[in-house]
Amino acid sequence: MIDTMYSDPMLDTFRNMMKEVDDKGYTGENVDAMRETLNLMEKYAAEMNDFMEFSAKLTTENLFGKFSDKYSRVLAANAKLGGYDPNAPYDEKNDQALLKLMLDALKDAIKRLRDSKKETKALMGDRAGDVDVLFKEQAIVDNIQKLIDLGESGLSAPEYLRIQTEKNLDKAMQGNVVTRDGLVYTHNFNKALASSPYLIEKSEKHIQLFDAMTAASPIGIPDISKFNFGCEKIDVSLVTEAMRWDKTKDAIEQIIGDLFTWALAHTSIAPTLEPWSLAKSPARAVAFDKDCYPGFIQIREDILKRNFDLSFHEIIKPGARMECKKPMVLVFTGNDGVYY
């Protein structure tokens, strides 16, 4: 049996969806199919012992997908139409009932956005303030509210739909404002972290692309799919250089680290320091490093040269500057330490 500590987080969502459907009294072949799929998931959880096999089984048999598909069909088949009667003559009463259906869905969307944020804050505990920084839902809510206000301004349903489409108000509530805020947050994070100039360049180019697509769009809103494709193209164009920068830095740090270890092994207190102090015979471990590290470092230098056409000795000459395509300047100043 799969430990419930692992299976419950996977299955609880589907159990809750099944309960919701049962509590509402829905029936039919799609409900039966939901139950059959959930029972199969439960059976696997009870009979299997390896979590990875269990997870693979659920995925390869597409059980999550099948359950969700049937759930969508159940909801659609039981959608409450309020006062709207598709079989009645289309008069003012029916028209306004249809309009109310659309506006109620938007009001529900705002409620769900706010509830979702509240639940997340409750889960985050004393880090709840982070949610206010990371999830600025007001811009989305404002755009949804504009649509609601339009709908409540005395229009008919087709007038509302026409104006919404003409002014692209439906696209405005897709959250593009929040997208840009997210891009800026990521860029500022990358600058503050300063772990790689390529991360910074990537996030900067993402923002530039977003702004360019916004300016070029007749409605001032970039197509989010095309924007994501554009970001992937940027990422792919930078990936090799970014990896080269990372691996070069790793290789140089490796050699410097080995040099440091070798130098430290020559101190009188070396046997009392980790890692030597953890060895069965600390004195032997120190002697090994003193004798072998020079040979190890020579091969590391050869690998650095073959991989990146760099000579470690040239890099570390006093006052030397080694520049990659991006500024990774390594200046070794002896007792002052090493600066990047």
Partner: protein, 216 residues
């Protein structure tokens, strides 16, 4: 007294205009125009129910074909050949569907299959252990006093065992998802993998050879 028929005609004209002439949405433009024409051909609103048929669903099918065509084009441009398989199959199958629910079921199934294909398309026992191959070279080539050679030989042997075990356990795990999965080293030369290995071709060839020799 409102003229709902004319108001709906105005709405469907605007809706068709959104995609008209958009080179990225040719199928959607055609489907939306068909829907619009059905509305414009009504003399009374009640006629639309019959004229509508499944034209709305066909708009959904058309939009699917267009959006997945954009995605396919994108993945082909950046040579993500495995990621392109899902959109390609979805486009080929979409025309068989005339209702949105069945279409969404098919898309869900194909995306699930493609997600597995993408997960299986890796060479992690090799590229994830590149650092071990370098360390192995250090231990095997370094000039060291002869008294330490047994120790270094043992350290090299541990790395070889580690590489073999990593390969074995990865293949065992992957076979739970795809029976018969084996590491395919030639994938390293495919663009989508090669661009993440920032080493000269000679080095890649060398490390592949070492990995094969060590893990055979």
């Amino acid at each position: 007294m409102r003229n709902y028929l004319e108001e709906y005609k105005a709405y469907y004209r605007v809706r068709a205009k959104r995609y008209a002439g958009d080179p990225d949405f040719p199928f959607t433009a055609e489907a939306e125009q068909n829907l619009c024409d059905a509305m414009l051909g009504c003399n009374e609103l009640i006629e639309f129910k019959q004229r509508l048929g499944n034209l709305n669903d066909l708009c959904g099918v058309a939009y699917t074909k267009d959006t997945y065509a954009l995605r396919l084009k994108h993945y082909r441009e950046i040579e993500e050949t495995i990621r392109a398989l899902g959109p390609e199959r979805i486009i080929n199958k979409a025309g068989q569907f005339n209702n949105v629910f069945d279409l969404m079921t098919m898309i869900g199934e194909e995306e699930n299959i493609n997600s597995r294909e993408i997960s299986m398309d890796h060479i992690s026992p090799f590229d994830g252990n590149w650092f071990l191959l370098e360390r192995l070279e250090v231990y095997e080539r370094a000039e060291i006093p002869s008294k330490w050679q047994p120790d270094v030989k043992e350290m090299a042997s541990e790395i070889k065992k580690s590489l073999s075990e990593s390969l074995r356990s990865t293949e065992a795990d992957m076979q739970k998802w795809e029976p018969g999965w084996k590491l395919k080293l030639p994938l390293a030369w495919e663009t989508r993998h090669r661009r993440k290995l920032p080493y000269p071709d000679a080095e890649l060839k060398r490390r592949i050879g070492e990995f094969e020799k060590t893990t055979k």
